[in-house]
């Protein structure tokens, strides 16, 4: 089924912008009929993806750009988050063992736990990276 673009927004890769991203994601999810609890989970997953970009892809450079796209059809909502950083080593992006108690490393776990599909990759020509996450919506 064809997807439609709900949102395409460009944000500065600054931690202060995460609250704006969360507002956009929550409103988009609620407009699709998601419950508040589900919307909040999706907010967390997208926040974590953006945080990973700020901390790891851009290595703490707060002056770069994050592109958030939200697409939907009757069955799912899709979040595509893009950066323009150097291609990251995808083999390093994995959830940590939850029994290994240590600060950090939970972001990827949250994304995979909350979403039904979660994929990462490089943009063509080494122009950056993307994270694509899909949540199926039961209607």
């Amino acid at each position: 089924m064809n997807e439609q673009h709900l949102v395409k927004m460009h944000f500065l890769s600054h931690p202060d912008r995460l609250c704006l991203i969360r507002v956009v994601v929550k409103r988009a999810a609620e407009s699709m009929g998601c419950s508040e609890k589900l919307a909040e989970k999706m907010v967390l997953a997208v926040n974590e993806a953006c945080m990973n970009i700020i901390q790891h892809a851009y290595k703490g450079d707060y002056s770069r750009e994050i592109v958030l796209e939200i697409l939907n059809n009757d069955n799912h909502i899709k979040f595509r988050i893009t950066d323009h950083a150097e291609p990251v080593d995808l083999s390093c992006v994995k959830p940590r063992d939850l029994d290994d108690l240590r600060p950090g490393g939970l972001g990827t776990h949250f994304m995979q736990e909350i979403m039904d599909e979660c994929a990462m990759g490089h943009l063509e020509g080494g122009r950056g990276n993307y994270i694509e996450m899909i949540k199926n919506i039961n209607k």
């Binding site: 609250c19 967390l44 945080m51 700020i54 108690l101 240590r102 600060p103 939970l106 736990e113």
Partner: protein, 110 residues
């Protein structure tokens, strides 16, 4: 996010309020570790937390581990529903000592 610290019942009580995300979790971490460095038993009150992400959770884990190393008491009290949902996703609700309220924790020592 607002942070306030006070003392009660022999504990330092750290109250976090609002959204705890990457923009302010370093500040929360500083307060948590600062109290522990002073040798204070610490209760972190999360009743006013409306959102917490993995960077905020990491500060709590680091505090818990530091307290354990120093043999200090550390617990979370009054955890809001929103914060509890995140702790459960990380399976940390079974790791942290968690009390429904500050009073419940203080009663334990009386």
């Amino acid at each position: 996010m607002n942070i306030t610290t006070r003392e009660e019942g022999g504990f330092a009580i750290l109250e976090l309020e609002g959204e705890v995300d990457l923009s302010c979790s370093p500040e929360a971490r500083k307060h948590i570790l600062g109290n522990l460095e002073k040798g204070r038993d610490l209760l972190v009150d999360l009743s006013g937390v409306t959102y917490i992400d993995s960077s905020g959770v990491a500060s709590l884990v680091e505090g818990y581990q530091n307290a354990k190393k120093q043999k200090l008491k550390f617990a979370l009290v009054g955890v809001s529903e929103s914060a509890m949902n995140v702790l459960e996703l990380a399976r940390l609700d079974k790791v942290f000592p968690i009390y429904t309220s500050l009073e419940e924790r203080l009663r334990e020592d009386s």
